[in-house]
Symmetry: C2
Subunit: 181 residues, 2 copies
């Protein structure tokens, strides 16, 4: 890393530290998440890159216990215990009615932005996949009344971390190839 420090912009270490400290948080305190915090998270999500700038992401913010109970179908039971869950959905058609082949990529990038912003705010969150599993998408479609072209991509329960969850070290230099496989 010689030669690197001198052109590292101010603030970059905070960004990198936040990326590395983000973790999947599955248990939460009773402390609420404010509407202002949710707005910050959604602004971050909507700043993601988007293929052909189609911005297919849509969001349903769910606070009601009865609805969160319907979304918590088993593997994602922490949705029932978080103060708020954001359902990241995708408009699967483009403006001409054709399939938008980038909708999952764009929704994934938006979700990662949302998770990183949550970490930055001291909140905890976890990506629970809906797509491409019918048995996970269907309960969300029904609970939220999603229109036909809108698919639930994932559900992110959010709250204040109870403190049990830690980031994982996933660094594996053997996953890096140079020039060719």
């Amino acid at each position: 890393m010689a030669g690197f420090e001198q052109d590292k912009p101010s603030g970059s270490q905070a960004v990198l530290d936040n990326i590395h400290s983000r973790k999947s948080v599955r248990s939460f305190t009773e402390e609420p998440v404010t509407p202002g915090q949710v707005e910050i998270l959604l602004k971050a999500a909507m700043s993601a890159p988007s293929g052909k700038n189609q911005q297919p992401w849509r969001f349903v913010v769910v606070r009601e216990q009865a609805t969160r109970d319907k979304l918590a179908v088993g593997f994602n039971k922490m949705i029932a215990k978080a103060p708020v869950a954001i359902v990241v959905c995708g408009e699967t058609k483009d403006k001409t009615g054709a399939d938008n082949k980038n909708w999952t990529a764009d929704c994934a990038a938006a979700t990662e932005n949302l998770l990183l912003a949550a970490e930055a705010l001291g909140l905890g969150a976890v990506w629970t996949a809906c797509y491409p599993y019918d048995e996970r998408m269907n309960p969300a479609i029904e609970a939220l009344g999603l229109p036909g072209d809108i698919k639930p991509y994932c559900i992110v329960p959010i709250g204040h971390p109870a403190g049990n969850d830690k980031p994982k070290d996933k660094w594996k230099p053997e996953y890096i190839h140079h020039e060719k496989w």
Copy 2:
């Protein structure tokens, strides 16, 4: 946003600013990208969330002009002009040999981390999709010699921004629903 400022952790504004200042950079100066910078980007990428912690992401770092020329198949011609391109690939099978249905989501999250880390370092980058387009995946498979289970997800050319590219304001409150669609 009342009640928010007092519990905003130090460094959070730098994180949010970086998310909002990330942009798709398609033109680059001649200045090289160092191996240390590439390592920082890949460490960020490998810190992404991963379904069942399978970490299906793999990376090919391409600097050679001849290989970048082969990867630049048209829409992504800036790959030929960037000092380095990182091809984000996915192991599409899990350890049992079954399809890993989360590989695209994990590769997308890793790519977004990589793009955000590039922005933090003052570098410029752009996500150019390969998956799910056969006509984009096949040239990368051939140029890099990817094994059968490994698919190229996207290619990210990286360099120092020439300064032409600006972030877009994509904030659309109308994309947010509350409790139900």
